[in-house]
């Protein structure tokens, strides 16, 4: 019997190694795997490259992980949200590396990693500072730049409901980066509030087939807390 549901946070986090690239889902607090980030803080892996839309806020979650000196590099589209105090301080002090990626390019680079595409061309960023060091090329009279895929060791994501095969259903705007991150990582760990018996999730509503999911942990409260 396939059973991807794990019973403890320790089991969920097992084997995450120092030096890993870790994708962290969510957009704002929606679909952000708060419990799993706490679990990663507890687990202890360090020298991480984290990929998330923002660079953390306050002193919890991703910001806390950075504050503990566990993040070597962050790849994100929007490092300076209100409250990104930890990032700002570490960055000024030269203690964290930053790669800024346009939001759509970031999503597409992960989708590419999941889809076996090592590189693709996009008009986004062509001719801007973010094109520096990237191959530029003209197609049909327009300039594009080549972007590489962004594969990862681990994805921490949040969904609404799962079954033991790891199929995932999301809620409202809770999809955001989660389904593409699930595709891009070798080890995808999902936190969900609800677990349904196999066969009870509507096949037409499953956005992430269990094929992309390795472990599912049920948590009492998801993000945002409702």
């Amino acid at each position: 019997m396939i059973n991807k549901i794990v019973q403890s946070m320790a089991e969920a986090m097992e084997g995450i190694k120092d030096g890993s690239t870790v994708l962290i889902g969510g957009f704002g607090s929606v679909g952000q795997p708060d419990a799993l980030i706490e679990g990663l803080i507890e687990q202890g892996a360090k020298d991480l490259t984290c990929v998330a839309n923002n660079a953390g806020t306050g002193h919890v979650g991703l910001a806390r992980l950075m504050e503990l000196g566990r993040v070597r590099k962050i790849i994100c589209s929007f490092p300076r949200s209100a409250g990104s105090v930890v990032f700002e301080e570490l960055y000024k002090a030269g203690k964290i590396e930053l790669e800024i990626v346009p939001q759509g390019t970031m999503a597409e680079r992960m989708r590419a990693a999941g889809a076996g595409i090592p590189a693709f061309f996009t008009a986004t960023g062509a001719g801007t500072l973010l094109a520096r060091g990237k191959e530029a090329r003209e197609f049909d009279g327009r300039e594009y730049i080549m972007e590489r895929s962004l594969p990862a060791d681990v994805a921490l994501i949040e969904a609404w409901e799962a079954d033991r095969w790891g199929n995932l259903i999301y809620k409202d705007s809770g999809r955001n980066f989660n389904p593409v991150m699930a595709m891009a990582a070798t080890l995808t760990i999902a936190q969900v509030q609800h677990i349904g018996e196999l066969g009870t999730l509507d096949p037409e509503k499953i956005v992430t087939p269990g094929v992309y999911v390795n472990r599912v942990l049920q948590v009492d409260r998801g993000a945002p807390w409702v």
Binding site: F27, G28, S29, V30, S77, F78, P79, R80, S81, E88, Y91, L98, I100, V101, P102, Q103, G104, T105, A107, E108, M110, R111, T122, A123, T124, G125, A126, G127, T128, L129, L130, Y170, K171, D172, S173, G174, R175, N176, F177, N178, P179, V180, V207, P224, W225, V226
Partner: protein
Amino acid sequence: MQPFSRPQMAARAAQDIPEGWVVNLGIGMPTAIADHVPLDREVIFQSENGVIGMGPAPNANEANPWLINAGKAMVTLRPGGSYVHHSDSFAMIRGGHIDLCVLGGFEVAANGDLANWATSENDTAPAVGGAMDLGAGAKRLWVIMDHTTKDGRPKLVDQCGYPLTALGTVNRVYTNLGVFDVVKGTGFIVVDLAPGVTLEYAQSQSASKLHTL
């Protein structure tokens, strides 16, 4: 002279959005445009985080923290609305399926260049978000911004001084002084001026020639 107030600027832009367009509004002033589009004029508002067909902010009793827009504010979903994930959302944006994107701006140049994400080449950690995707991908790009900076420096320019967001894609600019089309080979063309604002005055506040038809 009665320059447009911010709500007036938003209302003026809203007035120019026809029924049926798929529209992405940037964070800040652009977001306010939606409030001036009557619900019976069906405009499909899309948000980078995968919401298609957003409606107005919810009443207190229908608040749903799982449903937010790109500015992280709670919204509603209109009948006919749907959800996609981030890659599908940006496929829609980058693939040219958004009829209109409205962004804020630091500078707009006569050739349609937009600078709105970084204030200096030396700012090593600017936040780009989805601006470059939207700037390069939308069918039409409008910018809504004050005509000058707080210290009076013109924001309509011959060439952007700030780092670029997108090259040659701005079609129209809404400012407190008026509405200006950006036309390849010509530059800024005056579409409308705020009540009492003369062409001479608007020109004095601009660092690029304002043309009239």
